[in-house]
Symmetry: C2
Subunit: 505 residues, 2 copies
């Protein structure tokens, strides 16, 4: 059998160099308020050793001398030295002192390579389609309508803190250790019930917890779509979804929208003429138009897909932001006990997008397969986050929060719609709720030129073309209002309107 | 312009059906202690409506009647009704009462489809290679050596709680909203400094935060490997890494290991004879053998790869679990200012695997590209978790914790090595630390048969063959000991030993 031996280094005490040298070097350290002092001293000495300023066998200052020089307690120095010994950087010899170990610091610089030619088409495309890298950036002082993230000032941080303290005291250790790929069981059960309350028949259905919509959509496409497959969606559609479809080399068939949702004739034509493998739809508060598909149209759309035996991926992204009107069933509810709808849920546009929690609700057997895909991607979603979200939801916080958030957002929404009508000359303004409205300018106006001019006037928004499947929408823009004050909305829309007017003449 | 209208439903008061009927139906509700009462009542009525037991225009019991029948306060009922109205399920008419809205509950059951034939080769392989689905499962009462997860009883939950309270009070709202794909800046800076203290030259390097090692390795392979590429690794190697390499259709060249790490002659041969695109190595506390590559060999391995101009993905997975001996530089440190090492770090084997936080340290330019790939996969890793880990680390908790954990694990490790030598007849026993040891039985003994017999005796472990690139290792097993008591280790190893003895005869 092969044995483990602890290698003790040889200390050549002839290398001892008096107390002055090492001491003056170490006393150069600048202690800050960030983190414990003994760790700062440890790290400083480590760097001295790693950079070759202190070499093998060199004696370190005595703990007494160093503590006096640095004006810290001797225990602090002792602790720092103990850690250094623990990690193999120094050796403490009783009665003799502490000595630098035999650390190989003579690192020859290895070759430099050019990683760029090695990037896969996938990675290159992910870079090319990364709007964060290519779209104009928000700068301090700008009024921004770019984002459709929620207003974090509305978050109930105290409720969330309470959820943490409750859940953590129940099972803190467990939550910090490995969990299960499918997700945290109480959260899965909660969400099944939640979906049932939207009218979904959950018999033979199951849920997989994902890192938000984005991972959910990735998991579905990587599991169910082959490169070159035809996928049908609304045109325009969610730009992240568009990006992911392109990354999976899908041929995208975009169907134009009416004011009550996707155009039925064009849908029928698309399904008939192309070998569509799946549909991707956003029936409620569609991104970017804000359109809500009418109940009548929902039923017809479902029937059309069913006739052609094509499944649908439904993005329930904004469903919770209903400000008024009657109950609107997701497609996943309208299909009854059918299993051809894969529903992706997320609360990210309502609360806590920073946690990155979403879910896929679908056929039980299918979910079981997707669980393996999820495990291969990242083992599971943070168990702590899942448990905190569960605790927060189970205490009834979501409902209370939504009441408050809807009131707040509805006020902004109404105001934004009014301001847009009043100040921005447009062909039409779309949006029935949610956290954004969508503006179509006169055909010939280039929204990117408008954007350029607006940025000079410290207003930024999202150009609409990035949402289109076919390079159109050059005269459109999306205005997210959740994080702007009413004053900012009025001021910003006025500026946009004035810029647009210039282009009309 | 198209306008938003709130559709008010027509209430046909002729449908009013007296107070008895609806009341008796709702009074069947069984109220539990889970969650607020008003939400339970809301959800119950929702289900009655969705299932068609209460239909359009039907009058709900008055809030007074229902509160008396259920024995809850009238405000509770009022609140429940308000939520139902808010969500469009009922309409409250002043002076008349509350009426069920026009909810389409006539969901025709759509077609049922068979999802299985649609699964991509990727998804099918992920299912096939999912050891959680195919390996024998732990059952209650068993002594388990299957896992190499840390012992969560060692976690400092109080320190973690303090980290939460500190960080959350500073920026709770912010942490719950969207963050950045690259990661939480203070954590990135902390980890850069941490890597520098391992001797890494961080000039022109950068860090991307990932959901653990698993996502990190996925991001690297999806960005830098093409199907059919040759990848070289130790044989045996980390089974999750093996799975991911197979999922990305890599041709795997496994190089046998000596007791101080990968065999140099075979490495040279592998690099010479095959068009290797990348290497994947685990230099410290290798999974599954527990071998630590010697400093001398590290330098030679680096030189060999550099000669052939082949980059290396280094898995630093267990580096923190050094129990004794001198400082061991990661390859990422030994390459100096070179950029051909991509280092994947994780603290998951030490603390908080449930949080799923890892990092990739690599060439700055490359990281900038990988950030876009990360964004396309899941936007970013939980900002709350990253901030909590940062707060925990910056307060010096990791160092204190490691001192404690190392002491505990070293005791178990020493004990496990001794027990294995004493009780399990073997060809050799490997392991220099970490949370597991590796046993090679006599050539002809089938570890899976041993496992089968052991399970009957309530002992379970990980058969070694799953770690091999070439179907070998049938006589090997990995014994994880972190979560077992000394008594369990002794008892379990004795049982394994006795089973092995049977197979020798």
């Amino acid at each position: 059998m092969w044995c483990v031996t602890v290698k003790h280094i040889l200390i050549d005490t002839r290398l001892f160099q008096g107390k002055g040298w090492g001491l003056s070097m170490i006393s150069d350290i600048e202690l800050t308020k960030d983190g414990p002092i003994y760790l700062q001293i440890r790290d400083y000495i480590k760097q001295m050793i790693l950079k070759g300023f202190m070499s093998r066998g060199q004696k370190l200052p005595s703990t007494r001398d160093l503590s006096q020089t640095l004006g810290v307690s001797r225990n602090t120095i002792i602790l720092a030295y103990e850690y250094l010994e623990d990690e193999g950087f120094i050796e403490i010899v009783r009665g003799k002192g502490s000595f630098v170990s035999d650390i190989n610091i003579d690192y020859p610089s290895l070759w430099k390579m050019d990683w760029n030619p090695r990037l896969t088409p996938y990675a290159s495309l992910a870079v090319d389609l990364d709007i964060v890298k290519h779209e104009p950036k928000w700068k301090k002082g700008m009024i921004s309508f770019k984002s459709i993230a929620p207003d974090d000032k509305l978050f109930d941080v105290e409720d969330f803190k309470r959820a943490f303290l409750n859940r953590f005291s129940l099972e803190g250790e467990k939550l910090l250790n490995y969990g299960y790929a499918q997700g945290y069981k109480p959260l899965i059960d909660y969400l099944l019930n939640y979906m049932q309350n939207k009218g979904v028949d959950i018999q033979d259905k199951s849920i997989l917890i994902t890192n938000g919509f984005t991972e959910g959509f990735n998991i579905i496409l990587t599991s169910l779509s082959k490169p070159g497959d035809y996928i049908l969606c609304e045109n325009p559609t969610h730009n992240t979804a568009l990006k992911i479809m392109k990354l999976y080399e899908q041929k995208i068939v975009g169907i134009p929208m009416d004011e009550d949702g996707i155009n039925l004739e064009e849908l029928e034509k698309g399904l008939r003429e192309k070998p569509i493998s799946m549909g991707f739809l956003i029936p409620s508060y569609h991104n970017p138009t804000g359109i809500v598909m009418s109940p009548d149209k929902r039923a017809k759309v479902l029937k059309t897909f069913a006739k052609h035996r094509i499944p649908i991926i439904e993005d329930g992204f904004n469903e919770e932001l209903r400000y008024s009107g009657s109950h609107m069933s997701p497609l996943a509810a309208l299909c009854g006990s059918g299993n051809s709808i894969i529903y992706i849920g997320s609360l990210s546009k309502v609360l806590f997008p920073g946690l990155r929690i979403g879910w896929i609700l679908a056929d039980k057997e299918l979910i079981s397969q997707l669980v393996s895909v999820k495990r291969s991607r990242d083992i599971h979603t943070s168990f702590l986050d899942q448990a905190l979200l569960y605790e927060y939801l189970a205490a009834g916080n979501l409902d209370r929060y939504l009441k408050k958030a809807r009131r707040e957002y509805r006020e902004k929404y109404d105001f934004a719609i009014n301001c847009a009508n009043m100040y921005i000359p447009s062909k039409r303004i779309l949006g029935e709720g949610g956290l954004h409205i969508f503006v179509e300018l006169a055909e010939k106006i280039d929204a990117r030129q408008v954007l350029e001019e607006c940025i000079k006037r410290n207003v930024i928004f999202m150009p609409g073309d990035i949402f289109y499947t076919d390079g159109k929408g050059l005269n459109t823009l999306r205005l997210g209002f959740a994080r702007s004050s009413l004053q900012e909305i009025e001021k910003g829309f006025k500026i946009i309107g004035k810029v647009v007017e210039k282009f009309i003449i």
